[in-house]
């Protein structure tokens, strides 16, 4: 339960009066002048404020309150981005040779996907481990360290469209050995507050919630039902056309402002591989369509955070600021192993999702267990 977020929802966002800053500034200037005139100024330099004159018009142009706050935030973000930059690394340059082999890997995965039997089972389930470095360093004094937060999520979808979401926070941990050392020097605290949230080392209880009335899936920001996914085209060009049309329509509706259209198409196609119960023929078509996209770059072999190796592909989701998604796929069974979103400055560090299980099952929906 996120009680602090609920509390923020209660308080809401106060109406911003664009003239409030100027009004209060004049009052503060007057107050400061009175204070200094009353003889409280102790240094000759302190009279400078008085020499500036009365009106705020004599002051240098200043940012509006919102801009100034943004400036503060921007600095915090710059710090976060710097960390992202060092942890993420620059995706390898796409040479001609690797581009060709990348395409062949995707086509091979398409063949594997196409030859999979239609799976049976009462529920489609995806179980993921999410990992993200908290955007702000924590700790006291000299002992600053980064924490990584982990969470297990599960989504269950019955063939009749009913949906359940499971979630379980696993607790925060120091991100590296050096961070762990600093955390110990800080007295090994078990709880921190930062950016309006409380982080804790303790895992939560697992929870399962039935999502009533919610369309379970989305593609490029558009809601999609289980039936709609089953009915997607099974031919690569037709599938790409369908996805591109959705992306264009969503953009016209302002749904994905700031996105790179090609990147959103690549993301929507790849989402069919690992976030949705797509039939084998649709998965195969999605792989073939991805193989033809010029903006999907093959980075070579890579291991995910669980040490599983596969082929890494990446594409730009947003150009300014640049956000990239890197997928590691297992060409052997065409499964997506992990996704890493890089450059999400507002969220802090890389957003890593590791697919632990994806597919049909006869298990009944239950709260997620510990990994």
């Amino acid at each position: 339960m996120d009680d602090l977020r609920t509390l923020r929802e209660l308080y809401g966002e106060p109406q911003a009066d664009p003239f409030a800053a100027a009004r209060v500034r004049v009052r503060v200037e007057d107050g400061v002048r009175d204070h200094l005139a009353a003889g409280a100024g102790r240094r000759p330099g302190a009279g400078f404020w008085t020499r500036l004159g009365a009106g705020p018009g004599r002051w240098r142009p200043r940012p509006s309150g919102a801009v100034a706050a943004a400036a503060l935030t921007a600095v915090a973000m710059a710090a976060a981005v710097a960390v992202v930059g060092t942890t993420a690394g620059e995706p390898g340059a796409p040479g001609r040779v690797s581009a060709v082999s990348g395409r062949s890997i995707l086509l091979a995965a398409a063949s594997t996907a196409a030859s999979e039997p239609e799976e049976t089972g009462a529920y489609w389930r995806v179980r993921k481990l999410h990992r993200q470095v908290h955007p702000e360093p924590l700790g006291r004094g000299e002992n600053r360290y980064r924490l990584v937060e982990s969470r297990i999520t599960e989504q269950w979808v019955a063939r009749d469209g009913r949906v359940w979401s499971g979630s379980r926070a696993l607790g925060a941990r120091p991100a590296s050995k050096a961070d762990e050392d600093a955390w110990r020097r800080d007295g090994s605290p078990a709880e921190w507050s930062s950016r309006g949230r409380v982080l804790s080392t303790s895992p939560e209880e697992g929870r399962l919630t039935a999502a009533t009335g919610k369309v379970p899936f989305s593609m490029a920001g558009r809601a999609m039902t289980f039936e709609q996914i089953q009915g997607l085209p099974t031919e690569a060009a037709a599938l790409k056309d369908r996805v591109s049309r959705v992306v264009r329509e969503q953009e016209a509706g302002g749904a994905s402002a700031g996105g790179s259209p090609d990147g959103v198409v690549a993301d929507a196609l790849s989402g069919l591989l690992w976030s949705k119960p797509s039939p084998p023929a649709v998965r195969a078509a999605a792989y073939r369509a991805l193989a033809e996209l010029p903006n999907v770059r093959y980075l070579g072999e890579a291991a995910d955070e669980l040490g599983r190796t596969g082929a890494a592909f990446s594409f730009t989701l947003r150009t300014t600021p640049s956000v990239r998604r890197t997928l590691i796929i297992d060409p052997g069974d065409s499964q997506v192993l992990s996704s890493t979103a890089t450059g999400l400055s507002e969220a802090g560090g890389d957003q890593v999702e590791l697919v632990l299980e994806a597919g049909w099952t006869d298990d009944e929906p239950a709260a997620p267990g510990l990994p």
Partner: protein, 209 residues
Amino acid sequence: MTALPRIALSPEGTEPIPPAEDAGAGPLSLDDPEAFGAVFDACFAEIHRYVAQRLGPDHAEDVVAETFLTAFRKRDSYDPSRASVRAWLYGIATNLVGRHRRLEVRTLRALGRYGSDVDAPGHDERVAARVSAQSLRPELAAAVAGLHRRDRDVLLLVALAGLSHEEVATALGIPYGTVGSRLSRARKKLRAALGGGNPMLDPEEAGRG
């Protein structure tokens, strides 16, 4: 360079740091009126937001003006090695808000009844939390109003101002460990007010392809 060593204005910001007027101004950059003006410009919006949330927009300007004037008057007591200017201002604002207990309770009652005016734009995954906040609004507002003031101050500095334990400790002049105990006491009461209706995060499908 005496200007604002602790405040996070830098070349990345939209406003360059004004040059220090008086090289001998000592460690307290707030002394320099221009630097103090920069502090005002940098921090007004968030301090005003915090005060307006707690006391309502009608009375926020008085309290915010008083916050900055108090900061200027007490600038000699500001210790940049202990607190950021921002946390220090939050501390002053919090003390001033505390003088308006009846107003704060009235504001909370209104929030409980009608909610905040603006329906903040939210992503899909926020809906669950918002729905729960709406249905339990009166209970939640009453629980916040019923907190001991010192617990409420810590809770709101964490939840609304986004301060760290360390910043809360310096802002309020209390020990670090006390921040944690006050915060957990306050959150326990919030959770009790929210009952079993757990607003659950749904990180699934957030903008996924």
